[in-house]
């Protein structure tokens, strides 16, 4: 169906040292993406430079469209997807804000676009550094959001995202979120899978079998729908309900895609949540993104000191994995949730808010505490997590909830 010849970027699996932005670009090449639209923005810029270089070098046989802004980035990809293309882009912060109009529309069009958010704190204060505020601000727009911990996970998840997005029971766009600065520029050892293996894992694109803009299959895409009276209201509900159902379908699809990745490529990543040292844990931290590495080190150290602490990392943030999270946290007496962003309306972190809501379906009611740290590029060190562990432990002892701890407030 795709008449385009596909040159091989490489034939064998190999090991390289690269940062998260380059890893994402390698994933795009391995996923045999048809069209990439780009506009540079810190800290994503090197990602689109890698893509441009890959295209220039013939490693990535994609149409690359250098547009005049992020709004057009996603608009070009919407058009391309409606013509059947597998598509990719990445952005962050102000770029995501400028993209918001087409961004908001993409999931409703049910287009399986994959877009990295190289997360960055939002303006203002003026800032060009990492933080989850951008991605978190669009958490209720109907995109799937996956948060990575490591450079390897960025590479693998970006490829897996196409299987998830293009699954017939899902057909939704996916944000692969990797932390600005810490993952975008942090170099690590990465295993690059062999293209043939990726081809076995990821079939050719199935992007526009439903809604298409194709003279061979003429249809109107997105007529006005809704209003009061007539068929509109029920039709609108059907679209919205279908979207919600697809989000829920995605939970099991994400799990099976991760299982396939392990089976075919040989690497295992947590699909929804990652329980870490939760055996017999009395209390736990909940983390998201690259901070989880330092947090795990802190948990290891605390365990050595005899503290019964564990950690649950949230990989799939939207749809929110309620059951998996509740299962992972079963039996703890206190939970400290560490956010890299702020929920202004609730005076806590947004992940904290989600965890609280999820716990409504749990049998027990553990004590909870919201930690906010790592804003605008601030480092979250083992020391910060040791404090978080100590405070959460105190909560467990006292059995009380509430309060917000701003982890970098005392940094000097």
């Amino acid at each position: 169906m795709n008449a385009v010849p596909q040159p091989q970027a490489q034939t064998e699996s190999r090991v390289l040292v690269c940062d998260g932005n380059e890893a994402a670009a390698w994933a795009v090449a391995l996923a045999r993406v048809d069209m990439v639209a780009v506009y540079p923005i810190t800290p994503q810029s090197s990602l689109v430079e890698y893509l441009a270089k890959f295209v220039a070098d013939g490693r990535l046989n994609a149409e690359i469209v250098d547009v005049e802004g992020e709004h057009s980035v996603l608009s070009v990809l919407q058009g391309a997807a409606l013509a059947g293309a597998r598509t990719y882009t990445g952005t962050c912060g102000p770029g995501l804000a400028f993209m918001f109009e087409p961004y908001l529309r993409t999931p409703g069009l049910r287009l399986p676009i994959v877009m990295s958010i190289v997360t960055r704190d939002t303006l203002t204060p003026q800032s060009v550094w990492g933080g989850h505020q951008d991605a978190m601000s669009v958490r209720e727009t109907g995109w799937i959001q996956l948060y990575c911990e490591s450079v390897q996970e960025v590479l693998d998840t970006t490829i897996m995202a196409y299987r998830i997005a293009e699954h017939r029971n899902v057909m939704l766009p996916v944000n692969v979120c990797h932390d600005g600065n810490y993952l975008s520029f942090g170099a690590a050892r990465v295993e690059l899978p062999a293209p043939a293996e990726v081809d076995r894992f990821l079939p050719p694109p199935a992007v526009h079998w439903h809604a298409a803009l194709d003279p061979e299959r003429p249809m109107a895409v997105d007529p006005l729908t809704g209003g009061a009276g007539g068929p509109g209201p029920a039709m609108f509900v059907r679209y919205r309900k279908g979207h919600c159902a697809a989000m829920q379908n995605a939970l099991s699809v994400i799990e099976s895609v991760h299982a396939d990745w392990h089976r075919i490529i040989g690497r295992r990543h947590p699909a929804l949540v990652e329980p870490y040292r939760m055996e017999g844990a009395d209390f736990a931290l909940v983390t998201i993104g690259s901070m989880s590495g330092a947090a795990k080190d802190a948990v290891d150290a605390a365990r050595e000191r005899g503290l019964a602490v564990g950690l649950v990392r949230v990989k799939t943030y939207r749809p929110f994995p309620v059951q998996a999270l509740v299962r992972a946290l079963d039996g703890v007496r206190a939970i400290g949730v560490v956010d890299r962003s702020v929920s202004f309306g609730w005076n806590c972190g947004p992940l904290y808010q989600d965890v609280l809501t999820a716990l409504q379906s749990a049998a027990a009611r553990p004590a909870t505490l919201s930690f906010i740290g790592g804003l605008a590029g601030a480092d979250l060190t083992i020391g910060h997590f040791e404090r978080a562990i100590a405070l959460t432990r105190a909560q467990a002892r006292e059995g009380r909830s509430g309060g917000v701890i701003w982890l970098n407030e005392e940094d000097r």
């Binding site: 149409e63 469209v65 059947g84 003279p215």
Partner: protein, 457 residues
């Protein structure tokens, strides 16, 4: 059955000079005796009447002829007279209700107009425009059998000019098309449709108001990648092109995307209730530039979007009007061809009966007056040829001829009319200057530079 060209007469423009008759006689008989002309114009009460062969579709002269000397030629529609067969019975003259075939004493047989093989001498000498050779039949003959790719019964306002533009354009462009119709009158009248039903027979979509050219970029590029020839076409309003959609339009034009972008300029946000856009002209009433004790309509002149698009060095840029359909079709053809190589931009002025406040039957007349008064100039641009005027702009009718028929200008006082007049003149000079390769301002600039150089040396 094909359509044919014809000579049309507007008595209100005729000054009775008689040039047409003398020229006809000269061309057909060698003498300038008007009595021998195939065209006769004479007083008929208070007005003037034309006696001329209409080259009828169902000619009674031909039916009456017992000798088969008269024949309606299928190729060009001219009713031809064959002297070798004529028996001079004059029954043909009895059949004709227009005085189009008459006995001529000098020739000693009937004579009639043969349209001078498609270039009538009478029309050429008519200085007032009372006689016109209408060649719009070409449009019918070329596109009449093509399918109208919009469903019947779109819910446009009565007399909507935009609906006319849409139907003509898409019929010509054909079915191998993906059509973008950003929010505005065009989807508002049901082209994309409502609740699962559509008014268009080609793939059609609502882009956002802001991203029409970008979405078409992705579509066109993907089909090109697949080796498929699919036209990427926009039918957009002026708001979505000149205002909030301008960034994506400019970006796509700069990149030379292979898109045909048709801007249907009705000088405002007519679908949302007639608000001002940057294409709204000075003085115009809109719902956001209302007229009241202090308000006098829009206080700025319109943005000249086609000129701005020209400055992107697009493959093709043109302005057009439904008052001049042949010109419009010729430009549509060139724009479509250019969109196979790069960005093609066609700006069609589209009077709006509802938003401009004039009777719905006057739409084409308003479109024509806009052009005839130079309020709107018809031109085209290619990188090779530069800007060329496609209609003479040197003899405009008075601007008030145009303004007075539009309710949106009804409040204007003389000073405001003069302001518009001056702007129209500036624009005429600007475009004429570009057409001649030397904009007056540029010439002045060059002169200043020369002076500076002289002063320094």
């Amino acid at each position: 059955m094909p359509a044919y060209n014809t000579i049309a007469f507007r008595p209100e423009l005729c000054n009775g000079c008689g040039d047409c008759m003398r020229t006809c006689a000269e061309v057909k008989t060698g003498s300038a005796d008007s009595a021998n002309a195939r065209i006769q114009i004479s007083a008929d009460g208070d007005t003037l009447a034309l006696a001329l062969c209409r080259q009828c579709g169902d000619p009674k002269c031909v039916a009456n002829c017992p000798a088969a000397a008269l024949d309606k030629r299928l190729a060009d529609g001219v009713i031809a007279w064959d002297g070798s067969k004529c028996v001079n019975c004059l029954l043909c003259t009895v059949g004709c209700a227009y005085g189009g075939i008459v006995y001529n004493a000098a020739a000693q047989h009937v004579v009639k107009c043969d349209t001078c093989a498609g270039d009538p001498a009478c029309v050429r000498v008519c200085s007032t425009g009372a006689l016109r050779y209408l060649t719009t039949a070409r449009i019918y003959n070329e596109v009449g059998d093509l399918e109208d790719l919009f469903a019947p019964g779109l819910s446009g306002c009565q007399g909507c000019n935009t609906e006319l533009v849409m139907r003509h354009a898409l019929r010509r462009i054909g079915p191998d098309t993906v059509l973008a119709t950003p929010p505005g009158c065009i989807p508002g009248m049901g082209s994309v449709g409502y609740n699962g039903q559509t008014g268009t027979k080609v793939p059609v979509f609502h882009p956002l108001l802001t991203n029409t050219a970008s979405m078409l970029t992705g579509i066109r590029r993907q089909y090109r990648r697949l080796g498929r020839k699919v036209h990427a076409v926009a039918l957009a309003g002026d708001g979505g092109a000149a205002d909030v959609g301008f960034q994506s339009l400019s970006g796509a034009a700069e990149r030379g995307e292979e898109i045909l972008f048709i801007c249907v300029d009705n000088e405002g946000y007519m679908n949302t209730g007639m608000q001002r856009s940057s294409c709204t002209p000075f003085g115009a009433w809109t719902s956001t530039t209302p007229v009241g004790e202090r308000g006098r309509g829009k206080t700025q002149h319109a943005k000249n979007l086609p000129v701005i698009m020209m400055m992107h060095n697009c493959e093709y840029v043109a302005t057009a009007s439904t008052g001049f359909m042949e010109d419009l079709y010729a430009k549509l053809d060139r724009a479509l061809a250019a969109s196979e190589r790069g960005f093609a931009y066609l700006h069609i002025y589209s009077p709006c009966t509802t938003g401009w406040r004039f009777p719905s039957q006057d739409n084409i007349e308003v479109a024509r007056k806009a052009v005839e008064s130079d309020f709107v100039l018809l031109w085209e641009f290619t990188p090779a040829a530069g800007l060329q005027l496609t209609r003479d702009v040197s003899h405009p009718v008075s601007i008030s001829e145009y303004l007075r028929v539009l309710g949106k200008f009804r409040h204007l006082d003389d000073a405001e009319v003069h302001e518009i007049e001056a702007a129209v003149e500036r624009n005429r000079q600007f475009i004429t200057g570009l057409a001649q390769g030397q904009h007056p301002a540029m010439a002045r600039l060059a002169a200043d530079r020369a002076d500076d150089t002289g002063a320094r040396s």
